[in-house]
Symmetry: C2
């Protein structure tokens, strides 16, 4: 089969053997925002045509390709949802040459009834559920919009999105905080942990953000350390909020890029939280597992 994670700014296609082993891969920056209106079938053919010519006949897609800006907008599936619910909600796509199915995103509501959404991460969580089985667990998938998901009974029972990555980016690129920061400076772990510690003090995030400038103006935080401090501050607030919601027993299950998981692992350590790091290619595993349910 062919598994595809088609996001806003990246396209990742994998040719998978039964069981999920990767036979071949194709990655590009051809995210959905780079595809012209009506151009999705042609873009897909161009990317995976050779694999189809060699006999592949099933294509499973996940990610923002199923959003309003994507190929076809498919409704979000409400939590709790596991592999069976997701497999039953796959949406066939009009495509010549293969059976082409779209994985739905998930939606949930928090205790106050406010809705939350994900597209793409549900497939990673299916991959994680295969490892964790029926156990109650908490997963953290860092990113532009970090997802904290609760798992139990072999399903995703609910989740909360934290806008950490995007807030960091817009503050560094567009606010007064960026003027005192070297955005491309390497990660400074001491500054990051200083930011995490600051998040645990009083005053609130909006005050702590301005404090980044106060420290810079007073010569108490270097320009090279400012972006790392800001990351620690935001991730610290994110972890504190998750902790305040109550944690299930066991480690936090963490999966994402090497850079982000390293940062989150440091923050978890500062909060005294245990974590377990998982393969960042969980989406592949999830796509293979969903495909298995189709036989």
């Amino acid at each position: 089969m062919i598994g595809i994670d088609w996001g806003t700014s990246a396209f990742r296609a994998y040719r998978l053997a039964p069981g999920g082993a990767i036979l071949d891969r194709r990655e590009s920056e051809g995210g959905i925002l780079s595809v012209p209106k009506g151009g999705f079938p042609a873009a897909l053919s161009a990317a995976i045509g050779p694999w189809l010519a060699e006999g592949e006949s099933l294509v499973l897609l996940c990610g923002m390709v199923g959003s309003r800006q994507g190929w076809v907008e498919v409704p979000y599936l409400p939590c709790p949802a596991g592999p069976a619910e997701i497999a039953a909600a796959l949406t066939p796509l009009p495509f010549e040459g293969a059976r082409c199915l779209l994985v739905p995103g998930l939606t949930t509501r928090d205790a106050a009834g406010v809705p939350d959404v994900m597209r793409g991460e549900e497939t990673k969580l299916i991959g994680l559920l295969a490892e964790l089985g029926e156990a109650e667990a908490l997963a953290c998938l860092p990113g532009t919009h970090a997802k904290w998901a609760r798992l139990g009974g072999g399903k995703v029972t609910g989740f909360a999105t934290q806008m950490t990555g995007e807030v960091r980016a817009v503050l560094l690129d567009h606010s007064i905080l960026g003027r005192l920061a070297q955005p491309d400076a390497p990660m400074d772990e001491a500054a990051f942990l200083r930011g995490v510690g600051r998040a645990r003090q009083g005053g609130g995030l909006l005050h702590h953000l301005f404090g980044t400038r106060g420290l810079g103006l007073m010569g108490e935080l270097s320009e090279a350390a400012t972006a790392s401090y800001l990351s620690g501050l935001l991730i610290g607030h994110e972890v504190a909020a998750a902790l305040a919601e109550g944690m299930p027993p066991g480690p936090v299950h963490l999966a994402g890029s090497a850079t982000l998981t390293r940062a989150y692992a440091l923050a978890f350590g500062a909060f005294g939280l245990e974590h377990r790091l998982h393969d960042p290619d969980l989406a592949l595993r999830g796509l293979a597992l969903i495909a298995e349910t189709l036989q």
Copy 2:
């Protein structure tokens, strides 16, 4: 005398009678960022030359004109500071034709030792102290960087900046939240109060921000109401943080633009906080009072 509030993006000059009554005023968008390097004396002469020709001989300036990007960078004065401390720390500016003095900004440190700064608001607070005398009080000056100041014994004893206004602006202009918002929609008080209420629930600000998108995607928050909801969310978090620090007895003393003070008054009401609205021209009063100490 002539009092000038010269900020980043605005220039406001006032010709004041003894006691602070306004004889004439001149306002423009000629903030410090619009003045070429070395161009401050010429810009000032162009703006107030006629008043100098008519015999004015004392010019008092406050605001970002005393920052690194301004005419001369003057050091911040540490809290506690009142009119006497500020008057003793005025910096003479090289200017032909009048005695020209710059009001220093203030600095403080919070309980954790993190520094905070203000430039311009100290002059408004001096104006407010003239009304409040020696009483212990809390002042809130909303804006791009909202200032919450503690007053007592006739001085500013400390303050905390909340980056509320700037965070709102960068999120609406540059984040995914802006795509679902009409930034120019009129204030929707119900949506604003809904955002304030949301700030009092669990999950943290970074989660609440993404919830704005969840509500929009699910059709539970209109594009016209989104900017007001976001304002309520951020101001709600700001007020909650101030409350958590402990409040002195009496109302919160509020001064600022009509739009912002209306919003903050609504938020205070939602939190059950009393407030007292003050004249937005407090800076004038402060400049006149500082000038009086020079005689």
